[in-house]
């Protein structure tokens, strides 16, 4: 073949599937590989963000640590910061069940039921 003659090759990439991530059962073994909940893009509905608070004073902010090493201690320091600098903000530390990738609907219901006004989740990595 001549050195400058042209070839046609296949694109090696996958195609976007419209299916995102993995949703893990809270009771699952972190080592298990689980099937994803399919979210075909035709069924995706955009989710608007929750309305913002006008101010944090007088509000209850949940500090949700995701289980990653250091998260709990980070949230403790965050709580201390609020105590020192914004004592009018009530903070509640909670641990999210399962791994850092696991949903925890019970915790979200607890936050809503107990009049939680906001939540900070962290940390990753």
């Amino acid at each position: 073949m001549e050195q400058n003659s042209k070839l046609t090759v296949l694109d090696p990439h996958g195609q976007p599937s419209g299916i995102f991530g993995r949703r893990l059962d809270a009771q699952s073994n972190p080592r298990d590989i689980l099937d994803p909940i399919a979210q075909p893009s035709s069924n995706l509905k955009p989710i608007s963000m929750a309305p913002r608070l006008a101010a944090l004073d007088g509000k209850t902010v949940y500090l949700v640590e995701t289980g990653f090493a250091g998260s709990f201690e980070f949230m403790q320091e965050l709580q201390d910061w609020f105590s020192r600098n914004m004592p009018g903000v009530k903070t509640v530390i909670r641990h999210k069940r399962g791994t850092m990738f696991t949903d925890d609907p019970e915790l979200w219901n607890e936050i809503k039921s107990n009049d939680g006004d906001a939540a900070i989740l962290g940390v990753g990595g």
Binding site: Q3, N4, S5, K6, L7, T8, V9, L10, D11, P12, H13, G14, Q15, P16, S17, G18, I19, F20, G21, R22, P30, R31, I33, P36, Q39, S41, L44, K45, P46, I47, S48, M49, P51, R52, L53, A54, L56, V61, G67, F68, A69, G70, S71, F72, E73, F74, Q76, E77, L78, D80, W81, N85, H95, R97, F101, A118, I120, G122, V123, G125
Partner: protein, 452 residues
């Protein structure tokens, strides 16, 4: 993360404290919180308060979904040199030379299976939040061509693709993988299960393991620093310790049979972990002692043992691999105080203990000198028999078994599609009686006695 959030119509607000958080003292974490976001340079807590209180933008109130565009089947025609440069410069390779996936070469590879080119094989991602990329038999064939595989290897590569597991899941901790093949296909395609099986002396081992990583890069859409965040990466990613289990020299049942497959079925089993920790020699108690010194947060240990080690374990009285694993688990002890000192244990297992997850919850209440068995189930230990009996040794990995995938469904019904002259590297010298190359001893005229 922001891009993938837009793709599914979910606006996100977030802030970054400095990194890492794991292992940092409370004093350092306090400095993080009182300091600046290293990405935006803004005071971190000002950002946190703004995230919670600044009004939503129009885009945040009315998010739209921005789907990723579908890619054309073919790249624009160009010279081989320019196409190769395109593959390298776009990060579509593993840095080693590839075979360009022309239509002709891909068509030849597709003869390695009866499954149609447009059949969906699976979907893959390297992080949990991103959009999965889906791939067909034809796409896997393109990857197999790039890896330098031949059609006879294609059923194994399709099985790896069907696992939907990337060889390089993204973690800042830098994961490595292992792919072990059992069953007749090992010998049919010339895989090496014996001497130097884990070294670069075998074409099938090399190209099959490599194809898994090229799939992960292109199907998992892995981009270092963007969504692949391994701090230093892992050299195992190049080939994923791909080899066959030495069923012929093993005295134990093959690994795939432990997972419910028949001996005549061909299967690839996948493992994930961080390290090849060390090598060892000696009886089962040495294995138990060794793993008691390693930290555990619920991860497994996978021993790769030479067939001589398997024979020694059998001679010790272990009838099956599981018998040996059970004994190793029960005899691997560590004081609770020592266990909880480990960074991984205090960081991760402690969280499970707080949630009441056993056995961590009970271990957290024990006195420091109480002995615990850090691996609490024989299922936490795997034994794979690989090697050529040149040394009765094993290597210890912290690899966890993830799944086994059947290969046979991808075979052509008419039999593996072989080249007229199958391509093989030199086969390692091996002889059953262990006398390879050693000249026969000439009997001496007089017997040798002690004191001579």
């Amino acid at each position: 993360m922001e891009r993938d959030a837009r793709a599914r119509g979910t606006p996100l607000r977030f802030g970054f404290p400095p990194y890492p958080v794991v292992g940092m003292s409370r004093a350092v974490l306090r400095q993080y919180i009182e300091g600046n976001d290293p990405i935006t340079s803004k005071p971190f807590m000002r950002e946190v308060i703004e995230v919670l209180t600044s009004p939503l933008t129009d885009k945040e109130k009315h998010p739209t979904i921005t789907p990723k565009p579908r890619r054309p089947r073919l790249l624009a025609s160009d010279t081989a040199e320019n196409l190769y440069r395109q593959f390298v410069e776009n990060g579509w390779t593993d840095g080693l030379p590839i075979v360009l996936p022309t239509e002709e070469r891909v068509a030849e590879m597709l003869a390695g299976t009866d499954h149609g080119p447009q059949e969906l094989v699976g979907r893959m991602l390297v992080t949990t939040h991103q959009e999965k990329m889906e791939y067909t038999v034809e796409k896997v064939a393109a990857i197999a061509v790039m890896a330098g595989a031949r059609p006879e290897h294609f059923p194994v590569i399709l099985a790896l693709a069907a696992s939907q597991e990337p060889s390089m899941p993204s973690s800042t901790t830098s994961w490595g993988r292992m792919a072990i093949v059992n069953g007749p296909i090992r010998n049919e395609v010339g895989m090496n299960c014996g001497t130097a099986a884990l070294s670069p002396f075998n074409l099938a081992n090399s190209v099959i393991g490599r194809a898994w990583t090229l799939m992960s890069i292109n199907f998992g859409d892995a981009r270092a620093g963007e969504n692949f965040m391994a701090s230093f990466g892992h050299n195992l990613n190049y080939n994923n310790m791909c080899c066959g289990e030495n069923e012929e020299l093993s005295v134990f049942e093959p690994f795939h049979m432990q997972k419910g497959f028949r001996t005549d079925e061909s299967v690839v089993s996948l493992f994930r972990g961080w390290n090849v920790l060390n090598f060892g020699i000696g009886p089962a108690k040495e294995m138990a002692h060794l793993i008691s010194t390693f930290g555990s947060m619920g991860t497994s240990i996978t021993f790769i043992v030479d067939p001589l080690v398997a024979k020694n374990l059998r001679a010790e009285g272990f009838r099956t691999k599981r018998d040996a694993c059970k004994w190793i688990v029960e005899n691997s002890h560590v004081p609770a105080g020592h266990y909880w000192q480990g960074q991984m244990q205090s960081g991760f297992a402690a969280g499970l203990a707080k949630q009441g997850v056993e056995p961590f919850a009970s271990w957290a209440k024990l006195p420091k000198d109480a002995l615990i068995t850090p691996r609490h189930s024989p299922d936490d230990i795997n034994i794979l028999v690989v090697g050529g009996e040149t040394n009765p040794m094993w290597i210890t990995t912290d690899f966890t078994y993830t799944q086994s995938v059947a290969i046979d469904k991808w075979r052509p019904k008419g039999g593996l599609h072989r080249d007229a002259r199958p391509l093989r590297m030199p086969v390692p010298l091996a002889c059953k009686d262990g006398a390879c190359g050693i000249p026969e001893a000439t009997p001496s005229a007089e017997p040798v006695t002690a004191g001579d």
